[in-house]
Amino acid sequence: MGASFGRGGATTFQQDLQNSDCIVIQGSNMAECHPVGFQWVMEAKARGAKIIHVDPRFTRTSAVSDLHVPLRAGSDIAFLGGIVNYILENDKYFKEYVLAYTNAASVISEDFRDTDDLDGVFSGYDPETATYDPASWQYDGVVEPAAAGHRAKPSEADNADGAGGEPHSSQKERGSGHELGGRGATMSGGHDVPRDETLQHPRCVFQVLKRHYARYTPQMVAEVCGVPEELFLQVCKDVTDNSGRDRTTCWVYSVGWTHHTVGVQYIRGSAIIQLLLGNMGRPGGGILALRGHASIQGSTDIPTLFNLLPGYLPMPKAGVHDSFQDYLASITSPTQKGFWANADAYAVSLLKSYWGDAATAHNDWAFEYLPRLTGDHGTYQTVMDMLDDKVEGYFLLGQNPAVGSAHGKMQRMGMSHLKWLVVRDLNLIESATFWKDGPEIETGELTTGEIGTEVFFFPAAAHVEKDGTFTQTQRMLQWHHKAVEPPGHCRSELRFFFELGQKMRAALAGSSLERDRPLLDLTWDYPVDEHGDPSADAVLQEINGAHLSGDKAGRMLDSYTEMQADGSTSGGCWIYTGVYGGDVNHAKDRKPGRDQNWVAPDWGWAWPANRRILYNRASADPDGKPWSERKAYVWWDDEQQKWTGHDIPDFEVGKPPSYRPEPGTAGVEGLAGDDPFIMQSDGKGWLYAPTGLLDGPLPAHYEPSESPVRNPLYRQQANPTREVYKRKDNLQNPSPPEPNWEVFPFVFTTYRLTEHHTAGGMSRWVPYLAELQPEFFCEVSPELAEERNLQHLGWATIVTARTAIEARVLVTDRVVPLRVGGNVVHQVGLPYHWGVGSDALSTGDSANDLFGVTLDPNVHIQESKVASCDIQPGRRPTGPALLRLVEEYQSRAGTTVETGNQHRTPVARGAATGE
């Protein structure tokens, strides 16, 4: 999302779904995973909206939709690309919107070559490193700076020692799409990109797009996705009929899209459609990203992610950001448009919040206190480092990786190598007990008495036992008030870490070691109540930021626009600035919905600046008038000379539509009165991403890393830049054109059920939930059941190159085989809530154990929504016999560490063309 529009996070809010004329739910099972949010879909349906569910299975969402489109898991880009092609071929795009608000007219470099020219890769691909040099993707005449979001040249530090290397991955400094969660990519010269307003220039984005998607025909969609042409065209018609001046369509996605090796490009696919159809920034339109956890949006905004600091500021990288100036230059270019031009103020304010008076102009605001990255330090890399005994201690904070992460065995084996492990949770989750009852104990791979890991289990406080804010799926912060004190030893994370910090600082007091300065200089003095709980309110104030000097010293900042780069303001997360505006905690705002307009600005507080629909400048035409009365949202009031409407304008409120900057003007002033994407370096929505992504400027269909289907579109089988880990404990199933893929002939996909919560830590211990879905099961079609002799109510064993698991069999009409390129593809459905342990009310094999580790290059997210497998009737063997079964499969498939891990798919033997 950041790469297309400038900010991560849903562009709209759930209540706005009621204004949609068509809702496409794809990569999400909204009725099951977000039932209460789904009321707004039903509201829209009651008003006559068309509801379309595109999903491998017929789910509870499909059951109340108008149209269900079963497609092959992992083929969404082909489907979305087909819609793009339909829109362009049939002139269904919203011409004025596209011309004014997107980069369709921008002309790109003559060095760019598309996948059609290069057998499935874009120009700049280096097969040695499996990375792209994106220089050729740029706008014509723009030179790409050494920016975050792109790797620098591989440095020696990366592989010099165990400290910084990525021994199992490709050697490169990887930026991350997560850094784009809050902003568009850096680009210089955003103000003077050559444009062709006629959209005829062969190198303008519009024409590039047209050529790129020309081969994504309905026939091709049928061949790749298994969706019959007629059904596909029905979707195209519904979507385009319900977009334009007077109508809007919304796209809803969730982890069904992100859990892929091309996940970021899935989202880009829908972004392109929504921009072409003019649905962004408008009521009933947009892209609604549905997050799975109470505060998963919050945990990227104020991240517990290795590569980010709060507010999507990057963590500094050794060799790239050695000075504060280098760091700032990488975030923002002095010549680009938009609000990221003020990144220096955001960064300095953060450093002032962290280190207070110790952060001065003389020491570059203590920039040196920040630790440096040297590569991928993501969770999967970390687990492999555990196996190599590089990691001694591990904290699990409300997280159950033994069940919830891909490749459960690798997770558990990794933990068995730790010196110490701290688990903080409500219940005794499988990650806390793997040393006594994990599956590897049963197979003999681990022996309790030989595991040296010291384990601390700390019971956690529940949400009603502490104050604080969650940021829910529409970027809204809501305060939850403490109702009772936590029982027994239960404590909040806030208290635990506050005390841990106090204890460490006390132990280091008086230290003269330079490395201890950041800890000792840290601002760490929060007021504590009579029970020992630090004040969450005080922490939220620190996050919001304050004036440190001048008349307003001590007052909270009202907006991030007040932040300064001279040390006169603090602010722990600039995008949250304003939540405490006017010295009031707006996360506590609770004006009942029925007492305010449907946008409900006085309930909670949404970043940025309490705006509920992002880029809402685009809800008006270039002249500032609503596109239609029916879809009026934010508009220019000529009399008052300001933007007004139902929401807070996501635009400078006094900047008239006619405003045009002087050529060469950068920063906020550089944004024209018709540049609605105010975080983008050129103010436009990006149909084509000239920078910011590591795997291509346009989404192209690649097969999942493990797939029984040969990519019908390109020679290139899978994402050529995906992160692979060639390890004996991470073997991959072969995929065509490799031999023996038939050993794993079926596709499986994993998902959640309404009745459970992720890895089960908050549901398998709750009797009322456990009884509703008490056992792990697999969903198969009657056709597959007959083919494999699977008995309804019986057991099945599902096998991959990693392991074999067993599940009860649910034969259901809701799963249909698909015809893909003349072959029949069967899909197996596996809910992933269960794990092997002894404390939960409901236990079972874990579906995530089936996956290996292969990651999206942009965000390091694993492909855990689709892979290939075999399925057989009956229970799996137990003990060492289980290992023998898996070895037998590996042997039949001839798997080695190279299998499935080739980045560039070789030319078929006998083919005439070379690279």
Partner: protein
């Protein structure tokens, strides 16, 4: 002689001795917008502190609750069928499908009932390594192309003529001022007469297990009698994310339901119909009625339920006549004997 136990009743609460009762309350469950989330089941249990009812995987679509019972006062049924649902396109046309799963399911269940667990794969410890067959499943003519997944949240119907209440010898079951039917757990002696009396099989005695609350006592939905007294919505209706379960004044709900049916009919969903809303039906209409998308049997509902005490008055009359006849006979024989 009028029959208090059958036929339309103007005001059930007044009939039960309540003076100026509030409007009769009830549920209208619109199954056409149910998403099967089971929030109603959980919200009911939370509020009423109904114990967990066993962790049994039933493999009956997504239903692992099974049926209403002493510890299940709301139950969401899931019905998967190879039949069309008007207004919906399941997208199965053109897929290489074979026959519906229903046959396979029935086969498995039959086998299981005959005790053949091997059929269920539960005894199989060995995994074969056979390669997949290559036959296309869609080759035969019995391809399934239609599909619908119906969901419906069931509950006590709070009948106008409630046989459970009519047969209760202790006065435990009673008609509230809201027209609902409620068990008083401090009065029920666990005799169980009410259990076979219910034409829907709703009410049941809680199985006596150690530590279980109200063991042996007849249990069912109270329409949250305690909440109603504070003008609160029953827990299930309050939680329902899509307002499939609607709570309110019964007369108003009936109007709303009628309009909803008309709207669905106008949209081509011609199968939509109301169930148990008719005051002239065998139970005098229910306090909890439903909008269904097919025949009641599809959802496991009796098509034409009749209060089991309908004939009680005439049975009493007949019994009375019989007794009188017997008496007369006895007197006659006595007199005859004397003569």
């Amino acid at each position: 002689m009028s029959n208090d136990l059958y036929g339309p009743v103007a005001n059930v609460a007044e009939q039960a001795g309540w003076e100026a009762p509030p409007p009769r309350k009830g549920f209208f469950t619109d199954t056409s917008i149910c998403i099967g989330c089971k929030a109603c089941e959980v919200a009911c249990k939370e509020w009423n502190q109904v114990p967990e009812d066993g962790l049994n995987w039933l493999g009956s679509s997504y239903d692992n609750t099974g049926a209403l019972g002493a510890s299940t006062w709301r139950h969401v049924a899931f019905i998967e069928q190879s039949k069309p649902l008007p207004g919906q396109e399941p997208g199965f046309e053109g897929a290489p499908t074979g026959p519906s799963a229903t046959d396979a399911l029935n086969r498995s269940v039959d086998e299981a009932q005959q005790g053949n667990l091997a059929m269920l794969g539960t005894d199989s410890g060995q995994v074969s390594l056979g390669m997949p067959a290559t036959r296309l499943p869609g080759a035969d003519s019995t391809s399934r192309t239609e599909f619908r997944w119906l969901m419906a949240s069931d509950v006590c119907k709070h009948c106008t003529h409630a046989a459970c209440l009519d047969v209760c010898p202790t006065g435990s079951l009673f008609r509230t001022e809201f027209g609902t039917v409620v068990v008083q757990e401090d009065i029920c002696n666990g005799c169980g007469y009410c259990v076979p009396a219910c034409p829907f099989g709703v009410i049941d005695r809680r199985i006596e297990e150690h530590g279980v609350k109200n063991a042996g006592i007849a249990q069912k939905c109270t329409l949250c009698y305690d909440r109603l007294q504070a003008d609160m919505t029953p827990a299930c209706a309050k939680a329902c994310p899509t307002e499939s379960i609607q709570f309110g004044d019964l007369d108003e709900l009936r109007d709303r339901a009628q309009k909803r049916v008309e709207q669905l009919h106008a949209n081509g969903v011609t199968n939509a119909r109301l169930y148990l809303e008719d005051k002239t039906d065998g139970i005098g209409g229910a306090g909890a009625f439903f909008l269904l998308l097919d025949e009641p049997e599809t959802y496991g509902f009796p098509p034409d339920p009749v209060v089991t005490t309908r004939d009680l008055p005439s049975m009493w009359r007949r019994a009375g006549l019989a007794a009188a006849a017997l008496l007369a006979g006895a007197v006659a024989s006595f007199l005859g004997g004397r003569a």
